[in-house]
């Protein structure tokens, strides 16, 4: 059955954001009806545990958006980022199995253990701009990648919870849209003074590269991706020498020092701001290192290595020219 209407995507909007807007406009009493209409299958709760294939969603929504399945994945999810970094083409049936994984805007964060629940993130400045321009705020793709901690457009810290009261929005059960005012305490997020504190070059780097890749909305034309570097390490690949150099070790040490410095600043921040607000501690480089050590799954480890290698190489290149050019992305 054809959907009677479907919202037109705004720039850089995620698939789940479209689901949220459809839910609001449809007037459905509960999210169950919305999921059922959009996927053809009823869900017990929020659809996170369901195993609906991407094809089912694409068959329903694709015609409304005039998009093929590939176009839908490339332009409405953060999957292209995964593709560019890991370098392996999708095997949809095995890799994009569940609706939850597609809807989860932090996908493919699920490949990393202990990161099951990630709240969607917002940039308070983007929310104000969206409302001004489109009349409604929405979830941006550029904000949702698991290691992106600052808004690539405005350079402010992304928020995954209210900086005043710490409450989070459960997007899957509520299908809600972002709001500048907290639903619980009513405070405005853009009034928080710590939005621009402690932004490191590494965070800027990650957010800029993520954003550059996502804005392309297409697959890489060459098979050269950073993910290959990690996979080559164990196989004596000459190109993998990048990470085996003393410079790389030095880079990691420097990263540790920066993290230590930021931690000290965080401590001060915690004292002067709301003590419940811990801005993205887990998304910082230290977390990457910890995850790297504890992660047993090869692909996830490769993914983390990719970012570290990326940071190191970028630092070594002294940030000349476009970030995409610096790494040879076509």
């Amino acid at each position: 059955m054809r959907l009677p209407f479907f919202p037109t995507p705004f720039p850089d909007e995620t698939l789940v954001s479209l689901f949220c807007r459809y839910h609001f406009m449809s007037g459905n009493i509960s999210t169950t009806e919305t999921y059922q209409q959009l996927t053809g299958i009823a869900y017990s709760w929020g659809g996170r545990n369901s195993a609906t294939s991407l094809e089912a969603i694409a068959a329903r929504i694709g015609p409304c958006l005039l998009m093929s399945t590939d176009e839908l994945v490339d332009s409405l999810t953060i999957a292209p980022l995964h593709h560019w970094l890991i370098g392996k083409p999708f095997e949809r049936k095995s890799e994009i199995m569940g609706l939850g994984q597609i809807l989860n805007m932090s996908w493919p964060v699920r490949m990393i253990p202990d990161r099951e629940s990630v709240s969607p993130r917002i940039c308070p400045v983007c929310i104000c701009k969206d409302e001004e321009m489109f009349g409604v705020a929405y979830w941006h793709r550029e904000h949702q990648h698991c290691y992106t901690t600052i808004c690539p457009t405005h350079g402010v810290r992304l928020l995954d919870s209210c900086p005043w009261c710490g409450s989070r929005q459960n997007i899957y059960t509520q299908l809600c849209l972002p709001s500048i005012c907290c639903r619980w305490c009513g405070e405005r997020a853009d009034r928080f003074s710590g939005l621009t504190d402690d932004v490191t070059w590494f965070e800027e780097l990650v957010s800029e590269l993520s954003s550059s890749i996502l804005r392309r909305n297409r697959r890489p034309s060459s098979d050269w991706t950073l993910g290959r570097a990690e996979s080559r390490i164990g196989h004596g690949d000459p190109q993998a020498s990048l990470v085996d150099t003393p410079e790389f070790v030095q880079f990691l040490q420097m990263l540790h020092m920066e993290i230590a410095h930021i931690d000290a600043q965080d401590e001060q921040a915690r004292n002067c701001h709301n003590p419940r607000w811990n801005p993205f501690q887990r998304f910082r480089a230290e977390f990457l290192m910890e995850s790297l050590r504890s992660c047993e799954r090869p692909r996830a480890r490769g993914y983390l290595y990719s970012w570290l290698v990326l940071g190191f190489a970028y630092r070594r290149e002294q940030k000349t020219g476009s970030i995409m050019d610096a790494f040879g992305f076509a």
Binding site: P4, T8, S26, F134, G135
Partner: protein
Amino acid sequence: MISAIYRRPEVFEHQGNPLLEALPPILGNGETLDLLTNLPPYYPNERNHSQELRIHYLDRLYDIIQAQPEHLQIATVVSRLIRHGYKSRNPLLRDYSAHAYQLATLDSEFVTPPPNFAKCRSGAYLTGLSGIGKTTIVERILATYPQTIVHEKYHDRQFTQSQVVWLKLDCPHDGSLKQLCLSFFSALDHALGGATDYYGQITKCRMGVEGYVTLMTRLCHTYHIGLLVIDELQHLTEAPRGGEKKTLNFLLNLMNSIGVPILLLGTFESASIFSKTFRNARRVSFAGPLIIDRYSKDDPRFRLLIETIWHYQWTKQPVVLDDKMIEAIYESSQGITDVIVNIYMLNQQFAILDSKEAFTDGDVRKAISNHCPILAPAINALRSGDKKCYEQFRELEPPADQWNRALSKSGQEIDLMGVNDTLVEEYMQRIDSEADPQKGAARAGEPQEIAEQGESQLNTVQTVGRRDTQRPDLDAHMFRPTERAKR
């Protein structure tokens, strides 16, 4: 349901709005009359068919629609209402999205509309005697618009929307707001071709009337409802104390907050509802209250209607239509369309069944008392013209009398008769101008003067046919049943 085909609208301010560009073109008067007139097929040799078959052919009489000048006026009002409502509702504009989101999140129908909505709050009220053909003509007019337009792509941009151009509901028998909302959900599901099941969702969950109202408001916005037609408005008078006010207030809020125009239909009995509150009356005065009154004895439109239906005759012996017959029909029907058709149908039916195969003006005069005695008291009341009879048949009392009663305390008076005269004068002038152009020109000033005089007497009340300065060339499109039948 049809797919949207965008065309350049005739009115320049309608450009750039996909909801307006997808509407059918604004038709000329002649084309509208052609579309409104419905003449079922008739074959002269059917007179020779068996009795049983001919009895069934009689049902075709109910399908006949003879377009009249006032119908053209109503069609214009409907067209204006739809387009006027969409003018401020352009889904491509930022304000529209913001408004939709406000409606969706605030859980209330009382949402401040965007600034440009203020100019587009419009509604109309069509009243007339029961059986005069209000519902028939409005349904016929609505049928000239696709009910649902499916949008997919607008100027190379994805635009997946369903535009419900009109939705017609019947006011519930007890005037309840809850039932009105439920019939809205049911009608919307039907208009969307079963793609939604709002009625099922609503009836399954426990939700109060406030919830229904909020949801209804939201859906009017989501599905871009162009015109909400609410028929049988007189049922509101049956609502429990304060119920009619509540329902009317809700409908007005719908106009205010969403900009959905509303056309209210009801018998004369419903006119009393508007005499109680000024704002309700003002909101439905977009084109003035449209009043379809019964035909007067010398009304050329009455003769036109009789001539049209007279060709549909299945008695073996043709019955001639002369002045005596026309007078007899008027006496029996008092100019009410449905009664006219009923009398004609009953006379043919009994002529066929009794094997007389013909009927006279005497038979016509007795038709009501012999075959429809239940109608006789109301017809007699109309014939007598005695205002005391209106106490017994409240719905026969013309709206002007009802409003005059309401105004009696202030010493003002409404006079609708002058305006009705104007309508007839204009119509006669057209007929005359065809026969004698000089005579027509000489009379051209009269109706205008009468109309202006009528306006000064009216306060806020106008009737059908007054505003239309460019009259349809009726004669050019006048029904020729035999010609059409041959075609």
